[in-house]
Amino acid sequence: MSDIVEKTLASFPKFLSESLLGGNCKSSQNAPPRGFQNFIKMVSSIGSKYDEEQIVCREMQMLQKALSQPNISTPQQCDFLSRLVFCCMLGYDVSFCHIHAVKLAQKGTGINKRIGYMSVALLLHEDHEMIVLLINTIQKDLKSSNVLDNYVALTAASQLVNTESIPLILPLVLEKLKHPRELVRARAAQCLHRMFIRAPSLLQHHQSTIQVSLSDRDPSVISAVLHILSLLIQESPEKHLPLGESFIQILQQVINRTFPAVYEYHNIPLPWMQIQLLRILGLLGSVSESLSCQMQPLLSEVLRRNKVRENMAYAVLYECIIAITSMKQPHPDLLNEVSTCVARFLKSPSHNLRYLGIKALTALIGVDPVYATSHQLTVVECLDEEDEAIQRKTLMLLQGIANSANVQAICVKLLEQVNKSTDIYFKMETAHRIAQLVEKLSPDVRWYIETMHSVLLHVSDSPKIDQLTATVIKFIENSFEQFDETFQLYLLVKYLGCLQEKTTPTPVLKLAVWIIGKTSQNLKSEESSRVVSPMVDMLSRPDLDEELCTLVFSVLMTLVVREAVSTDDCSRLLNCDNLPLKAAYLKQKLKELRQLVKLSIKFPRLQTGHQVKTRDFTLSFLDDDVAMAIESGAAPYRPKTLRQQDVTNSRLSEAVYESVYQQISPAKSSSTQHGSVVLSDLSENSLNSDKTEHPSQSRSTGLNLSGVRRVWGQDGLISVDGLDADGDRITGSKSSTQGSDGDDKTKEKHQLAQALFEGVSTQQAAASSKKSWFTEDSVQLGSDDQSNLPKCDESKWRAIHQEHQSVSKQEDSLPSNQSAASAMSHDQMSANEISPELSSVHQDHHSFSYHDCLYVNQSVDVAVSHDEKNLLANEISSVLSVVNQGTNCQWEQGSDKTCDSERREVWVEGGASGVECTDSVKVRISETPSHINDSGDGLHSHHHSRQMQADSLLSDPSTALFSGLASQPSGEPENSSLSDPSTALFSGLASQPSGEPENSSLSDPSTALFSGLASQPSGEPENSSLSDPSTDLFSGLASKPSVEQSKLLIRYILTEKEKMVK
């Protein structure tokens, strides 16, 4: 109580003096209503946000009620609106009062109208729906004769008119440019500026009207018009060069003080307009040499005139410096003047001026870095400035003066800043700057790596960090060729260390994992656990980054395939089941990896990435399958049509083939001594195989080229000899039953034989035409052929195969459904197996795109040479067919759908591009592909019906792929026949399958596939004997996976056939 009394007493003298002495009646005149005061008092006395909310909400409810009363007076309305503006500023929703604000603007007069407009401007925005209600009012007020109404309406129009309504208002505003009061003219010009920002197209039409206003006698109008023109000039300085002179004149007038003295600020005439003019002149000067010459004396005068120690003078000075540095070819004297001015800024004790000084210096060294030398010390001081803003500007300056000599020092400084700063965006920006500098100017790679490493460590929590990692990876990728072994080792050791540290942030981990994959050939086997265990640890982290995880899998696969890590470690570590992998495709990856590890334990010598010396061309791995199948009661393989032929027919067709063979062999044997030896061996072999009881026992040949012959035997000869043998022994009963309708068939056979001979005769002609240069080639290449051909170690292959067999037996022993699944996943695994290899062959393209299939697709694109493409196409198609199986099977089980369909699509794409390239080969026997295509379809439909899935997508690609697969053998000989003698044989052989379908018109699909697949491995030797770059690829690809694939495919086909027969 006493407090209040005291306060009242204390205020008494003041009250007396004010009222008695008449003073000013400010307090009475401006006294806000009591309600508002109480409200403000309550709000400001409250500490907690909650209480404030309570009070404000109560107040707003009250205001809403009060405003909606019909008999509310205008001053009250103004008062309430002011309160609501305050509420709005505090962040409360006051949308209920919008209509009242609009009403007040519509109905109020004078000061009340102004408050109405103001509240509309503060509460609404130009695209608000209620603005439509206001357009009419604005129009009315613009037409009014009252200056004040015009004035408020223009102010409102500048903010509240939306783009659609601009045409309604624009004519009225343009009219106001000619208003007698400069107040209105200036407002009108400002309003136009705003409108033209929103609707730039309108500006073009009224440019001349606006330019007239440039010669207004009132500086405020000129200033407003300058805003509009600078919009235009920023857009296209070249177009507005004619205006340059008038700008120079205006600036001249300004500094000559021809405008009224009231416009001076701290003795500087029209400083804001000067700034504007200097900016515009700088823009124009940057495109026109003549204009910049013209303005140079004026600018130097501006420099000289602004020597007063006033902020505003410095502001003008700074703009002048920027204008001079941005113009074309500034005069050296002028630049020297600028340099001294910059020195004034830099030496000033004011932080603001130093800040601008650094900025000015940055602009100046853009013209010539020499000017930086005189300010070295100041710059260094500014670097240690405690003000962050100045520091940042100085860093920009440093970046400007960076060259190869000082880049190291500068980067160290920049890094320090990154380290110190807490602003994440600044950090990121600086990190990118460092990356640019380092990439451009780095003296050596090691330093680059070190710097980028520390940068990454510093900014690892930034959102755009991946860009930065990508830059580093790109850099290493590009220059990896030049890295010597010690450097690679250095990289490996460095990032191995990173991998083992628990605190390494994820982006760095990604880089580390990638680099380890890249440099894995330097990895010593004793280090393998050091590599694998942190990676597996990574996988078991709960906060696992999925990208990192996929990358880890890819790299681990590469490591396993390259034998860079010991597989024991891998299997031990990977077999722990507590890996928290959520995504289905990651689980799939893990499974694949496990299978791969399992496989690589079994096939230790088959590691790709090394030159493969031994290949199994005898397809001996099929023996056991075939044997098993036959033992278990399956019918031995025979083409479908041939099954219905009698023995005589088969003999006839045998004769046909024999003749074909003999026609080719003379050509062959005449070519080279060696070739003939081989051929004779081959023919012996074929004879042997004819006589052998069981196909599986017919693989006894240690000769180098025997594989070639044998392969053909697999498809071509087996269809002939097999008929013979099988017809006699195994399906003898069948053939005897067929013999009854032999007479009808004999005619057919003759026709067929005739047709065949026709084909062969043309074949022969072609062969003889080529004879001459075959001989030449063979002389050169014959011996090489022999030495380069890989040796076939059959026993080992058999051992391997048996091992593998045992695995599949195990699988078979599982319940049928499960075994199918595991077999499929196995298939898919081996399909995926190729991808790490491909990636290694193609220098890890797309190491960061995590779907393996992309590797392959990429590889198809990259493989330029035809051979590579052919091979890849074949590879992919065979893989696809396997994947298809896997996919369908998986679908049946309802597991992850998207992942695999995606993968398959990519395969399909890859296959398609392969098909493209094979199509371009002139296919000698054009019917072949179509036949096989058909059979492919046929096979597919089996497949399809088995899966019982109506997947339309599947049928198309598979057709394409089968055709790609099929056209392969026919295309290949053409391609390779140019190079060496063995090819001639091939071309002969290759014609065989083409003949066969004709012979056995629409034979079993499996035949076609057999021929396609079998000729594939046989194509390898000649390719590997050529010393072209494709060799690597071949060796990488052709060994295990392709054999694996074909085996899988063949096995699949066998089971298919079995079903069919049944």
Binding site: A31, P32, R34, H193, L270
Partner: protein
């Protein structure tokens, strides 16, 4: 271009805000908070320019501010504005306010929001700096006040007289009571 003009006190309570570019209300609040956060931790002896802050314009965004006793005046501008020019514009603004309200205080900005915005509209329109002639602005405000008086005199003279007598000293009272929080800012360094 000036994107926004913000005035808040030492506790970050907004006292006046004007956006020349539309932002939704919640973003506006965020901008005020972020700006206060950035500005309030600056020392007195550093420059009045500040880069950073992400809400308004990203990299092309600067804060130019002045600190008067309890109030921060912050102009958020893009790179096309002259830093020192804006700094002096703030000065002009505060001087004009001071002359208009005689020892302007925080509450004047709230109670006379219309006049404050009117003055501001004389300095900045649509985000562009207008010719700034303080004397002329003051003359115009005088004109306005006269007009207001005339209108008030005709329309509500008796009522106003009564309320004037009643509430004569209230603003002064508020100023006295809240002295530690709301000191006058008029006679401070310029």
């Amino acid at each position: 271009m000036i994107k926004a003009i913000l005035v808040f006190n030492n506790h970050g309570k907004p006292r006046m805000s004007r956006f020349y570019q539309y932002y939704p209300e919640d973003i506006q609040q965020q901008i005020v908070r972020e700006t206060f956060h950035l500005v309030s931790k600056r020392d007195e002896n550093v420059c009045n320019f500040l880069e950073g802050g992400t809400l308004i314009g990203g990299a092309d965004y600067k804060l130019i501010y002045r600190h008067y006793a309890t109030l921060y005046f912050v102009f958020c501008v893009d790179s096309s504005e002259s830093e020192l020019g804006i700094l002096d514009l703030i000065q002009v603004f505060v001087e004009t306010l001071d002359k208009c309200f005689e020892n302007v205080c925080e509450l004047d900005l709230i109670f006379h929001v219309d006049k404050v915005h009117y003055i501001l509209a004389e300095l900045v329109m649509g985000g562009m700096v207008l010719e700034t002639n303080m004397t002329e602005i003051l003359t115009r405000i005088e004109e306005q006040n006269k007009l207001e008086k005339q209108e008030a005199g005709i329309a509500a003279a008796p009522a106003r007289a009564v309320s004037a007598m009643k509430e004569m000293n209230i603003p002064q009272k508020i100023k006295d009571i809240k002295l530690p929080d709301l000191p006058s800012i008029g006679n401070l360094k310029f």
